[in-house]
Symmetry: C3
Subunit: 202 residues, 3 copies
């Protein structure tokens, strides 16, 4: 479908994407505003209705805990991340929605489907030699209020089941990583597109 | 193959399934008898020769540790779960069989093959902010004494390699999740069946 | 391409492989020299320019920390393992290269691509009931200085995306596990080869 001027996608560098939706909601994905390309800081963000974090690495979690505490967005995330957040978010994380891969939740008229990703999702940054284990890495297919669907892959290698994402959800726009060091590079991403691994439609 | 009256499958709600086998053994899978649909409690279970738990979430582990301690079934499970169980089961878990995806073990004349699943497998329920990390989520293909094979998918999104499960093991019966929130929903499960993702035979 | 006498592959049992490259470098993979088949000990190893460990189980990590501390090889590994190693390697692990699946790094003229694997990657061996979580299990495609490429699968079940490995990287040699208990067995490995899951070329 054609997108009108009521929808904007703004890339803030790295995996950080802001979406203003046809229903006048704001979705933030992987809100690491501290990345070198971002022209604004997390403190300057004043709207967030839906927050999505693909996995528990610092360059994707970014300032999500502070944003979530201050703006109290709905926050659909993988089960382990939801448990961990409940102890860290102001208010106890009552707007966190634990879910898992293959599932879909609705936030108002916006649909959020959690997909797989081929990456990892933890750290060893906690004091006292305790690992930070936040489940598995994921991507998201988001359906806006008017039916437009996009896919944010998070960090991932190319994987064959991107074809199932295309076939089941037919996203019309995809955000793919191409760093080539922590994720697939441009050649692998081209394969994903070329083989309709992502978009089986059209 | 046709199943005779010597084999029964009983669903106790959620992912909890009991199998009485042609060889008069009892297999319990994901024994969360505490789920609202279960007509009996874990305490009332008096037979269990083989125990299978697909992943380390409470609604699948259920009362497995208590059952395993009391009835001492053979318990094939993923490596990390086997290590964790060894310190928790009465008797030190000598009947626990650590294994991993793609492997097959025999318990008497019953074959247990561990398959992949697209989900997660941990928690943050332990005291002191230590994660419960129990490896990766799995499914199982079980071959009964008479050669009948079934597949219990555990919690999972639909994934393309279900086709390999079908091709390699040709299960004649499958238990699939369709909750649509923590797992795939009916539409995705239908795709799995429709494309013979699970059963390449016939 | 044909390999000359300037390249050798030596299998030391289990998943432990040593490669002498056309550029006179030594690559060690999954260096568990303590395995029963190994004719030499880790202490006797005196060359290692590149160290690769597929996942955090003891039979693959083996004596890697001691070898890495003593011989200071470049050590490309998954993010979580790199963080964990930084506190354990002599010198702080400055030669460790954190990366992730789908990414490629160069060590001199040798290319290292990290692939997925269908297994698990942790343990419960640390004191005090803290899990050892080392990210996700991986495999590696290595391109030698002359362009020859091989694939070391680590521990894994057969998976459909082996086909993408074949298609993208066209390895001419593959090391596959066939244990059948902690990994796939010979039958599953034959399927991988038969369907060109690994090598789409030729």
């Amino acid at each position: 479908m054609a997108l009108g001027r009521d929808t904007t996608f703004t890339w803030y560098g790295h995996a950080c994407v802001e979406v203003r939706t046809p229903g006048d909601k704001t979705i933030l994905i992987d809100p690491w505003f501290g990345n070198p390309l971002s022209p604004k800081t997390a403190d300057a963000v004043d709207r967030c209705d839906v927050l999505l974090v693909t996995h528990g690495h610092g360059d994707h979690l970014g300032e999500a805990v502070a944003l979530g505490s201050r703006l109290k967005p709905a926050w659909p995330c993988i089960h382990e991340m939801s448990l961990w957040l409940a102890r860290r978010l102001a208010g106890g994380g009552e707007a966190v929605i634990g879910m898992n891969k293959g599932g879909t939740v609705k936030v108002g008229d916006i649909g959020i489907t959690m997909t797989g990703a081929d990456h990892s999702a933890g750290d060893w940054n906690a004091p006292g030699e305790v690992p930070l284990y936040l489940g598995e890495p994921v991507g998201f297919v988001v359906e806006l209020e008017n039916g437009f669907r996009f896919y944010h892959a998070g960090d991932t290698a190319v994987f064959g089941d991107m074809r199932l994402i295309g076939e089941l959800y037919r996203p019309e726009l995809a955000f793919l990583p191409i760093g080539g060091h922590y994720t697939m590079g441009p050649r692998e991403a081209a394969l994903a597109v070329d083989k309709r691994a992502i978009h089986a439609a059209s």
